[in-house]
């Protein structure tokens, strides 16, 4: 176990190193430089551009830039090129904004997909299963931004509640109850949108997992013993079908920082996804690279956690 952990941690650190190199190369070898972002701006004299290049180390060779960047990243001194604010602080602030979306979205996903998937599997090829399957494909196929606009039209014209942004402008002076309700209303649509794709995919997965387990010999034995269908489905089948999903908790981790660029830009939600979008528009390399690095680290941590969880949960697996 310890040997496995040691080996995989080393492997993941090496992977992370290559990710950092590749993302750095992609960004820096692409045509165009941040100093050229606004060539028509009269304030951008050649001297100014030169000063910017020196300030941001852009005049140094690539490997020196790389070393400087990651040294600054690990000492937490990395600053955004747009406003000279520390990047980690900015990310933390946006992360706190994205967190409620993520939490509500994840809870919705996991609470809806299991009952739907299990029921589909039990009633295989019935009307319920067919319609749930079709609905799942519909939700997977609908472009997120189109669905968002349909929901916005519905909610705004029928319910007359504001949906754009994190809170209504000027609501800060209202009573706490009004403010809490306001925040909740603003949270509903984006988190439902974030959860739809997840519900569709996860419920299909739960269904196929359940179907596989229901076909096993021990389930047939359970039926043959004359157990009630609740006992068979929920005690014998479901508990075994749950195994792969335990590992999925590890996979949630990267979603923490991902945010959704499209949904957050539609709803003007000042979260991580929107921050990434703004950084890309402004060629704010430190922010882009830091976000990329943190995401990659979280993906790797997630796979490690899911491997370990699998070992804890499933005694058949020994590494």
């Amino acid at each position: 176990m310890l040997a496995f952990m040691g080996r995989s941690i080393i492997q993941k650190v090496v992977t992370l190193f290559f990710v950092s190199v590749i993302s750095f190369l992609i960004i820096h070898l692409a045509p165009g430089e941040p100093s050229q972002i606004d060539p028509l701006n009269p304030k951008f004299t050649p001297e100014m551009v030169e000063r910017m290049r020196t300030e941001f180390n852009l005049d140094k060779p690539l490997h020196v830039q790389y070393m400087l960047f990651y040294k600054n990243l690990f000492t937490g001194r990395i600053v955004s090129w747009r406003d000279n604010q520390p990047v980690l602080g900015k990310i933390w602030e946006r992360f706190l904004n994205s967190l409620p979306l993520f939490v509500v979205g994840t809870i919705l996903t996991w609470t809806f997909s299991f009952p739907v998937g299990i029921r589909s599997a039990i009633m295989r090829d019935g009307v319920y299963d067919k319609s749930a399957t079709f609905l799942a494909y519909l939700l997977i196929s609908i472009p997120g931004f189109f669905f968002a606009y349909i929901l916005i039209i519905l909610v705004v014209t029928e319910l007359h509640v504001p949906v754009i942004g994190m809170e209504t402008f000027g609501v800060t002076s209202a009573s706490p109850l009004v403010r809490i309700m306001d925040r909740t209303w603003h949270l509903v649509l984006p988190s439902i949108l974030g959860a739809t794709g997840g519900v569709a995919v996860l419920s299909r997965y739960v269904r196929s997992q359940m179907l596989e387990i229901i076909g096993q010999d021990y389930v047939r034995t359970a039926w043959a013993k004359g157990l009630s269908s609740e006992t068979v489905y929920y005690k014998h089948a479901l508990r075994n079908a749950l195994l792969p999903f335990v590992t999925m908790f590890g996979m949630i981790l990267p979603g923490l920082i991902g945010g959704s660029v499209i949904i957050e830009s539609i709803f003007s939600w000042p979260g991580m996804g929107r921050m990434a979008y703004e950084a890309i528009l402004g060629r704010d390399y430190p922010v882009i690279l830091t976000l990329n690095f943190i995401t990659a680290a979280l993906v790797l941590a997630g796979t490690l956690i899911s491997d370990l969880l699998y070992m804890v949960v499933d005694p058949r697996i020994k590494l």
Partner: protein, 388 residues
Amino acid sequence: MATTANPVDRMGTDETHMPPSRSPWAETWHLLCKNRMALTGLVIFLVFFGVAVAGLTVTSGKDPILDPARVRLQEKLRPPFSAPKTDSLRSEELPALGIYILGTDDLGRDVFARMLQGAWVSLTVGFVAVGIAVGIGILLGGISGYYGRQYIQSGHILFWLLLVLAIVLAFQKILSAAAVLLIVAIAGWLWKKRHDRRVSPLPVCLKWIALPTMQVDTLIMRAVDIMLCFPSFFLILTVVALLPPSIYNIMVIIGLTSWMGTTRFVRAEFLSLREQDFVAAARALGISDTRIIFRHIMPNAVAPVLVSATLGIASAMLTEAGLSFLGFGVPPPHATWGNILSDGKAFIFDAPWLTFAPGVAILIVVLAFNLFGEGMRDILNPKLRERN
């Protein structure tokens, strides 16, 4: 399984209980006809393909029948099925079909013509991107699965290093040094080849060339792991934003960032197929590796790959629409479903057809691809196949 006839009956009508003798294609077609959702998906896909090809011929060329770029400012935001005001338009400005089937946008352009033009764009983006991804996936997955246990020798690494160095030097305009490096690399490679054929031990001072470093399989799988660490939409967005806007860039980038699944998949197929008896038999007959790979292993591995490619097309089309929506997609004169929708969002309450026409079109086409792909996956999966 459902028919439990008594044994006497069964003996009498032996032929009816034999499995039907059908070719694999006919069998697949038979199962496809029974899966109504997959069949619908296939039909919609064929219709969409026809529409896209027809749309390309109708909307392109010097004097297209339906001109997607014709601006009629006096005909702004007309609703669907409205007739043009004939008194204020010149005769060549009239829509060819007599009415605006899907209305007009904020510049008075015919949305129907723009949708037709966009259909072809969506189709090519989906197919080219997935073609690139599947090509890389089959190549790397095949190498990894078939030659995976061989070691990369330090000589190989040296060769590639020299090659890369030569290319870098060539880009820096130091052509003579680049040429020298290139010649040294190729000469070394050829010498090693000849040496291997003679099966004589390498001279002591060159022993290190044949030093094994790591397995091919390890290298490719680590590359897959590295690529999987990148948040894909964010990566695509970054690269598309940095490169000059062009439809080809988008296809290539979507392709280059989505080959990992196919690679893993093809590798697994190759790993299991290469241990099968028919491959051992082929090898015993002295058939060359290329022939074994392309004639014996590939046909068995390709069906599931095509299924995942179908699903990949759906997601590539969604990605393209998303990029266009964010304003990083196909540059403006060209209409795509994503940027029609993106332009239309400003008029969502006044002209909802600008949002709904492309949105519903994307939804239907992507849904068709998903239904067809998933249906084929069920059909090709013998575990889920019901016996009949």
